[in-house]
Amino acid sequence: MPIYYRLRTKFARGELMRRVLRYAFVVLFIVVHAHLQGQAQRGIVHGTVTDSATGTAIPFANIRIEGTDFGTACDAKGYYVLPSLPLGRYELTASVVGYRSQTKSVRVFGGGITICDFQLQVSPVQLGAVERIGERRESASETNISVETVGRREFELSPTPVQPDVFRTLMTLPGVQTTSDISTQFYIRGGSGDQNLIYLDGMPIYNPFHALGLFSIFDGSSVRAAELYKGGFGAEYGGRLSSVLNIITRQGNKNRFGGNVGMGLVTGRALFEGPLFWEGSSWLLAGRKSFFGGILNRFIDTRNYPFNFYDAVANLDIRATEKTRLGVHGFFTGDRLANVSLLEPDYEWYTNAISVDLRQIFLEGQFYGDFAFSETSFRGSLNPKSHPTLKPMTSSVLDRMLRADATYVLGSGDQIGFGALLHIVDVGYSLVNSAGISLTNDDALPEGALYWKYKFLRLRNLVADAGLRLYYTDLLDQAHAAFEPRLSLRYHLSRSFAVKGAYGVYHQRLITLSNEDNLVNLFEMWYALPPSKGFPAEEARHYVLGAEITFSPAFDVSIEAYEKPMNVLIGYNLDKVDRYDPDLIQGTGNAAGLEILLRYQFSALQGWISYAYSRVMKTFNNVTYPPRYDRRHDLHVIAGWAFAPGWELSAQWEYGSGLPFTQIAGYYDRIPLDGVLGGSGYIVEPGAPFIVLGEKNAGRLPVYHRLDIGVQKKVEIGEIKLVVKGSIINVYNRKNLFYFDRATGRQINMLPFLASFDLSAEF
């Protein structure tokens, strides 16, 4: 019996899991013990990096020991640990985009703990200031492969229709694609839209798009930062084949009451924050609501959907003790598109999510853990009213997750991470199927995962992150286990040149179902693939190789090549004939590509250029075709120019080669042969028009390109900071095709020339 199957059998019985756990604890005990023994001649420095004005944690700041190559990066909660430093005095510098760097002197005592917190001041955009956008996390402690971190500075630099948006900014990075201006559905490295795991403060989010996708459901003013793992992500993440997007919202101001109100072309928003009774604790409430939807509708060459949506964020950050922080998060969003016309369908979708997380620091600070519970509910519905072809449909997801993650920083600087996750997802849907019958179903998908990872940091030029994730599903029914090894490496050949690579295995059992022949799917239904239905988990492997060249602090290039064989994909069975044939079958896919990101700053001009080449193919029923998001070439040029104090001009040009679609090869009148079972009437049955489709996705839409420009002015009037932003989208009014209705021949273009504004006031 092959070793894999032996392991799988043992795993299914729980033996292997117990054994792995036992060994993991023994190893952990030994290393902790050895570490504590050797700690006498060395000391630990740890602390948090916060905003000096608001007291809120700053995620992903870099900490560097001056005069050395040694450093680390803060985690999402702004916490860092520098373990086992030899006795002596050090100069530590904290830096992050958007803030002035701060250097502090610390003294490390033998066996002692030094707490060094940083309070960084916001840095306004300045003429000639060297402030790299999209700055990578500390390369001495992170492999930084296929990860992009963006914050408010990047949001500001991206001219976007109506208002800054997390997703719109991410889409300017290489390897992140969208199929249209008016969709924030995104595709990472040849993966479909459902292969992206999206967390908001640890809460899984489904269908994170507002009406027509012009906005993501995350209001830019309440988002602090976003990390996007495009591939080769670590063992702490799983359940999706392609990417992980980790969005972190702002904590409330811990020092004083404050707020931010703003309005754009179609929305108004407000954010209020302030300290709680307990020292170092805060609250934040933010909300956004659509209005004036009719204004935007005048500009958009598409269906006249009345916009009606809201989203709200509520955060509590409580400092319970010196070593304990409690976070409570809520996120609520809804969309209702009620058309006046009976021939136009109505759509509704809502997401409500809550989470509670606890950060606990153990020992002297080198061991810390996060414990979280979250519940996310999503429900959406399509009401076709009198639409001639659409049928009613609903989709719902209830996701409950309990997870624990811990990190132990060893004296050598190496880090051990481990954690466990329990996940129960209830997926429901109702639809009218191809046979014209109403169908309702509910499935439960219980999933569990254990992971262990080791980050090897002790060698000067090498960072290695190795991990194993044990994925377990359907524990009470037909248990299925999968092993997911993960490895990423980064090696500095010199101070300015690093090579990196990553490998990982990923599985997914929650997918969306959609008809690939549709050019646009506004409504996609979530569908679970539990083992009890006889489905294998979707599986992909990531192979990534890359290099980073830093020519100067203001100019660097990152190149990554990847291949992502998708050994198991689940999709429509193209050969289905009757009820004995499965609706869905197993297929395969492969994505490969090359990405280049060049970041620059020349005097007051800064920005980035990204280019991605990718090739995606899927095979189902021995038919190989490019999926509808197979964009071969994607180029983005972003520039920001601080031409005067408080002023900034930004521009973005993007180019995308044509997307695949299936062409029309003609029409014929198809006879259903309704009467063949009853007699001879079928001979004179009338036919109904039917479209003859050509080779699947063999056609290509025209290329896409668009230029956007924006100008921003920041003004301070007393305690109030005003930001006025004007944007022109599609400056040269390129008619990029969005949608073609095969039934009517109606062509709908993406955003035309559109001038918009956004005004916000922070107090």
Partner: protein, 325 residues
């Protein structure tokens, strides 16, 4: 200033290069023949309905106002045993959405095609690529009534009708539908009518849920058996009594079992065109199916056989029906 000039020049270049690229949703149109023909022993003539694909000026098929006739086509049927038949051209009255009243048909009159024989259809017509297709006509070996409703129900010898049938393996049919009909007339003057018997009925509170036979795929074995419950027969007689009002006017002529066997092509086409014939599918798409090489439509075949039986006299008496079997 040089930088600003460069940027403006770049923008101009982009604008000049942004000429619209034509979008062509249609691939090059190649007309094809559309063929519908079923070898059906219930028909005395074999008919091939022939039309063609079309390409309207826009994207609305209703815009196509041209004819769909395919005149002067050569339509030939060959059997695997070497017989060749040439079908004669005619037209059928079938109004369509394009304003046409007629459709081309090619006919083989008074032909008795053999079961278990493979037939090849060849069609060539000017301006269209030639098409071909083949089918093996299914052959039913025998139908037996394994058990029937007994006269004396008290003995409880049988509570249902049970039938079984076999077919010749070489004909490889794929689907079947078996239906049981009670034949009757109202008074002596009215025409013969019939009412279908479901496989079974289930009482759900006040409602009765009847399960009627549907087109189904044959199992791998060469023999199939199926049954109709006694409750289902009784329920149908109750329905008949309540429908007509006066049971004394109802003359029961008997009960007939009809079996249709469909070859794989007809079965596949019918199933795909009817939502996979799958009430539980989660699919919402409408794919197409054809076995016509070089064209569209279907060339299939079916076999039909029936078996008539009597209903128990005592059962008819219970409903006050006239036993006219």
């Amino acid at each position: 200033m040089r930088k600003i000039g460069s940027i403006i020049a770049l923008i101009n270049l982009i604008i000049l290069s942004s000429c619209e690229q034509p979008f062509e949703p249609k691939t090059k149109y190649v007309p094809k023949l559309v063929v519908y023909s079923i070898i059906d022993p219930r028909q005395s003539d074999m008919i091939v309905r022939l039309s063609h694909t079309y390409d309207p000026p826009g994207y609305d098929p209703d815009e196509y106002r041209g004819p769909l006739l395919v005149p002067d086509a050569s339509v030939t049927l060959r059997s695997s045993s070497g017989e060749t038949f040439t079908l004669a051209e005619t037209t059928l009255i079938v109004p369509d959405i394009h304003g046409n009243l007629f459709v081309s048909a090619y006919v083989l009159k008074q032909i008795k095609l053999r079961e278990a024989e493979r037939y090849f259809l060849f069609i060539s017509a000017r301006d269209y690529p030639a098409v071909s297709a083949s089918t093996i006509v299914p052959a039913i070996q025998y139908i037996t009534a394994e058990s029937v409703l007994q006269e004396d129900a008290a003995l409880e010898i049988c509570h249902c009708y049970q039938f079984s049938f076999t077919f010749y393996a070489g004909t490889a049919p794929k689907g079947y539908i078996a239906r049981l009909w009670i034949r009757y007339s109202v008074d002596t003057t009215s025409a013969l009518d019939s009412i279908e018997v479901p496989y079974s009925i289930e009482k759900q509170g006040e409602r009765i849920l009847a399960t009627y036979p549907q087109l189904d795929r044959l199992a791998d074995s060469q023999e199939e058996s199926l049954s109709y419950t006694r409750d289902a027969v009784t329920w149908v007689l109750e329905q008949l009594a309540s429908r007509v009002g006066d049971p004394h006017k109802i003359r029961i002529k008997g009960i007939t079992f009809h079996l249709l066997l469909l070859d794989q092509y007809l079965y596949n086409y019918y199933s795909v065109a009817h939502g996979f014939n799958d009430p539980l599918t989660v699919r919402t798409d409408t794919p197409d199916y054809s076995n016509i090489e070089g064209g569209l439509g279907v060339f299939g075949s079916l076999a039909h056989r029936s078996l008539s039986l009597k209903l128990p006299h005592s059962l008819l008496q219970r409903f006050n029906f006239v036993d006219d079997q």
